[in-house]
Assembly symmetry: C2
Homo-oligomer: 246 residues x 2
C-alpha cells in the first residue's frame, strides 16, 4: 500500500488532499492546467492525466474553455430497487423535476426478451429525464405493453406521478421485480444528457416487473451518473422452510 511511482498518481493525490482539507473549496476553479503543470514541473499531458483521475472520482469537473472546477459535495442519487408503487414511496424528493416524453414503439431487440413478448408487439415508451435543480439526475426509458398503458396521455406530460398512478390502476399489483445492475462507459448521448464526461462510468439498471399472473408488465432501462449514484436493494426472507413466526 505504497505504490505511488507515477507522477500522475502523486499529483492527483496532492490535489485530492488539498480539496479534502479545504485548501481548495467546492465550486472554486483550479489554476489553469499550464500553471499547474509548471508548478509540479511536469508536462501538460501528465498534469492532465492527473486531473483525469480526479475527474473519474467525481472530485473535479472540467469545463472546456473555462477551467477545472472543484465539485460541490454531491447530493447522492439513490435508486431504490424492489417492488415499488404498492405503498406510498417515502419520497424525500426535493426539487426533482421529471420530464417525460411518451411515444409508441414496437418490441425489438432486447425488449422482446425483457418483456417476453413477440417482436413488434405494440409498446408505449416513456422517455424520462429527471433533474434536481440544475443538474441532470437520471435517464430512463420505460416500456409498457400498449394494452396496459393509458391512452389519453399527452405527448408531453408535466407529471410523472400521474403516469405512474394511471399505470397502477390498469394492472394487477406487481409481485416480482428483477433488477440487473451493471456499469459501463456512457454513450456520447448519455454523457451529454447527464452532463458527465465520457471518462466517467454510469450505473445502468435494467428493471423488469411482473404482476401476480407472471406477466411482465414493465421494463425499465435506467442510466445514472456513476459519480453520485448508487442503487439500494432490500431483500427479506420469510424463512419459508422453517416457518418462523417473523
Amino acid at each position: 500500500m505504497q505504490p505511488m511511482p507515477s507522477h500522475r498518481q502523486a499529483i492527483a493525490a496532492d490535489i485530492r488532499n488539498q480539496i479534502s482539507t479545504g485548501q481548495i473549496k467546492a465550486g472554486e476553479r483550479l489554476p489553469s492546467e499550464a500553471r499547474l503543470a509548471s508548478r509540479y514541473t511536469v508536462s501538460t499531458a501528465t498534469l492532465r492525466s492527473a486531473l483525469a483521475v480526479l475527474q473519474g472520482e467525481g472530485l473535479v469537473e472540467k469545463i472546456h474553455g473555462k477551467g477545472n472546477y472543484v465539485r460541490y459535495p454531491l447530493r447522492r442519487i439513490t435508486y431504490v430497487g424492489g417492488v415499488r408503487g404498492t405503498k406510498a414511496e417515502p419520497p424525500a424528493e426535493s426539487a426533482l423535476r421529471i420530464s417525460v416524453r411518451t411515444t409508441n414503439v414496437q418490441a425489438h431487440g432486447q425488449l422482446i426478451d425483457l418483456l417476453r413478448v413477440p417482436a413488434d408487439t405494440p409498446l408505449t415508451e416513456y422517455f424520462c429525464l429527471s433533474h434536481e435543480g440544475e443538474s441532470p439526475h437520471s435517464l430512463a426509458r420505460i416500456y409498457v405493453p400498449r394494452d396496459l398503458s393509458p391512452t389519453d396521455v399527452p405527448d408531453e406530460s408535466p407529471c410523472f406521478k400521474c403516469i405512474e398512478a394511471q399505470l397502477a390502476v390498469l394492472r394487477p399489483p406487481l409481485t416480482e421485480v428483477r433488477e440487473r445492475v451493471t456499469t459501463r462507459p456512457p454513450t456520447p448521448e448519455e454523457a451529454a444528457s447527464l452532463r458527465i464526461s465520457s471518462a466517467l462510468a454510469v450505473l445502468a439498471i435494467t428493471r423488469v416487473a411482473a404482476d401476480n399472473t407472471g406477466r411482465v408488465v414493465e421494463a425499465g432501462l435506467s442510466v445514472l451518473p456513476g459519480d453520485r449514484a448508487d442503487a439500494f436493494f432490500t431483500t427479506r426472507h420469510m424463512t419459508e422452510e422453517k416457518g418462523k413466526s417473523e
Copy 2:
C-alpha cells in the same frame, strides 16, 4: 449521432468493427502499438488513447510486456443479491477458486455503522479473492462479529464453502439483506488484484445481512470488475395488504 472528429474515436471505431466482424478473433493479439500507430499514421499516444476506449468497453485487454489482446466473449460475472445460503445456491460455478485469508480485526470506520456495533468490537475479517481459471473474478472483504465466527479456522482456508457452512450453523437464519451498489474507479490495489486497468470502473457492493432478531451478523464489501460483472436482484412482494393467494 455523427460526432467523430477525433482520431481516437475513429481508430477505436475501426478496431471495434474489426473485432465485431470477426476480422480479429477473440484471444488474438493485436499488432503492437507501434505498428498500429504507423498503420493509422498517428502517434503512439493517440493510438494508445484509442485502445483505452476499447479497454473501457471491455473489448481489449492490455498485458504489459506482451501485447493487446481481444477479449474472449466475456463470461459475465453475476453477483446474486438477496438472502443466500438458506437454500443450496444454484451454483453453476465452473472452476471458481476462492482463496480466503482470515484475520482478526476491530470494528472501525464504516464497519461500525454497517454492523451497528461499538467501535473496536472484535470482528473476524475474511478477505476473499476468487479466480475463474486464470482470470481474477472478484474481491470481497466479509466481516462477522467474533462471537459468531468459527474459532478453529486455519489462517489459509482451502475452501470458502466450509467457512460459509460453519457460519451458517452459528447463527439464526438470515431474514433481511440490504445491498448497496455503486461504481467507482478501482484503487491501485484493486486494479492489481483484479488485473484491470485503473481506467476501468468497478462495481462496489456493500451487503449487510441481519438475522431474525434484527441483529446484523455480516457485512460484506465486494468489488467486481466493471467490464464483466453485473449484480442481479430479485424482489418478491407477497401482496400483504391485499392478501392474494400467490
